[in-house]
């Protein structure tokens, strides 16, 4: 029951997100729900409030580990050092795995299905499966974080590192790349009726490629719009 409650409160990790202390209030709120307020040493509470950030799905690992160490009456200085060290790792690993891997795959599969299939019912089924699967993965990660954090304490760091060993960490981004490639090719075949369209489609993909390579530069976006205006003029 406590775990279900904690899972619920883990959804508030990014509440009151601000540019000064980032996700500190949400993290502190989760710790408050994990332990009674008077159980949390003032120095740890203050350390959490001063600055805390991390990927929202991985934050429960760190906070429940902190909760475990507080219960074990570990030296608050050590706990504060743990918080300092874990912040960067939570962001780096979580962002790469979820924002660059899991999320694109589970968004691109329904996008591709819309382009390929005509049957609306099939598309709804694919969208529903994708929606449920993504949420299953992220909720599972939160529960895992709560369980492993409260079991391993400081040693949870090694468990967070294990995210990098997952199959998806290495392959989801590759799958996304392939889906987009298929998406582009299918879009060519399906929507392009005559050779001027093919030329402009290639040009738009090229501008997109260059734009992303240069970091979404406004200059390349402007060039693309000029190409678009020419297309409007010619076609």
């Amino acid at each position: 029951m406590t775990r279900i409650k904690l899972l619920y409160y883990s959804f508030f990790v990014q509440t009151f997100w601000n540019y000064h202390t980032m996700a500190s209030i949400g993290a502190c709120y989760l710790l408050d729900k994990l332990l009674k307020s008077d159980e949390i040493p003032k120095s740890i509470r203050l350390r959490l409030i001063i600055f805390f950030n991390g990927h929202p799905y991985l934050v429960p690992y760190a906070i429940s580990a902190v909760g475990k160490e507080i219960k074990d009456e570990t030296n608050p200085e050590k706990i504060n050092r743990f918080i300092d060290s874990v912040v960067g790792m939570l962001g780096a690993i979580g962002d790469q795995y979820y924002w660059n891997g899991v999320k694109p795959v589970f968004l691109l599969i329904p996008c591709l299905s819309v382009l390929i299939f005509q049957d609306v019912l099939l598309i709804y089924i694919i969208i529903s499966i994708s929606f449920v699967s993504y949420n299953f993965i992220q909720i599972n990660e939160r529960i895992k974080g709560i369980v492993l954090g409260s079991e391993f304490g400081f040693a949870v760091v090694s468990k967070i590192r294990l995210v990098k060993e997952r199959w998806g960490y290495q392959y989801f981004a590759k799958i996304s790349f392939l889906i987009i490639l298929i998406f582009s090719i299918v879009a060519f075949i399906k929507y392009v009726e005559s050779y001027p369209y093919i030329i402009f489609a290639i040009l738009f993909i090229a501008w997109g490629l260059v734009s992303s390579r240069r970091g979404n530069s406004y200059k390349y976006l402007a060039f693309s719009f000029i190409t678009y205006c020419i297309m409007e003029f010619i076609l």
Binding site: F16, N100, L108, P110, Q170, I205, G208, V210
Partner: protein, 159 residues
Amino acid sequence: MGNMELGVVLGATCQLIYLSYIPVGGANIPDNHIAANLTTIILGTLPVSLDLVGKFLPVIILLSIFFMYLTKLERKISTGIMIRVPYEDIIIRKLIQKSFLIHLLIFLPSIYGVFFFMDFVKNDIISIEFYSGFNFFLFAIFFASGSLLMRFFKRGFGK
């Protein structure tokens, strides 16, 4: 809503554009969810066509940028509060309540305002002649695809 198919096509296109925007790391990004949902509700009774989706894509992009700035405003207000409050005296529960209140006060009126404005100008947007919806649809799809391909090629392949 009357037309789920329109929602699916509009949603899929917006997700593709959104993915090509999304940075890996914390940053403000255009809020395509609210914009696409609002547009689908407003266009719900119209028959789906790529021309219609394309005609509304520029509007959706503008709306999502507008909602991105609203998120930024919300975060700036939170930052302002955080700077002023002495950390030792913070009552977390109250800040969380305040956060919900700020969010509702900013977003609810904005969503309703945008909804009524969009509903009012819907027919004007549909009747616009200076760009073709289908062409813009193609532009958005291929540009986003190109951008995404490069992003995954650049940083996406595993460790």
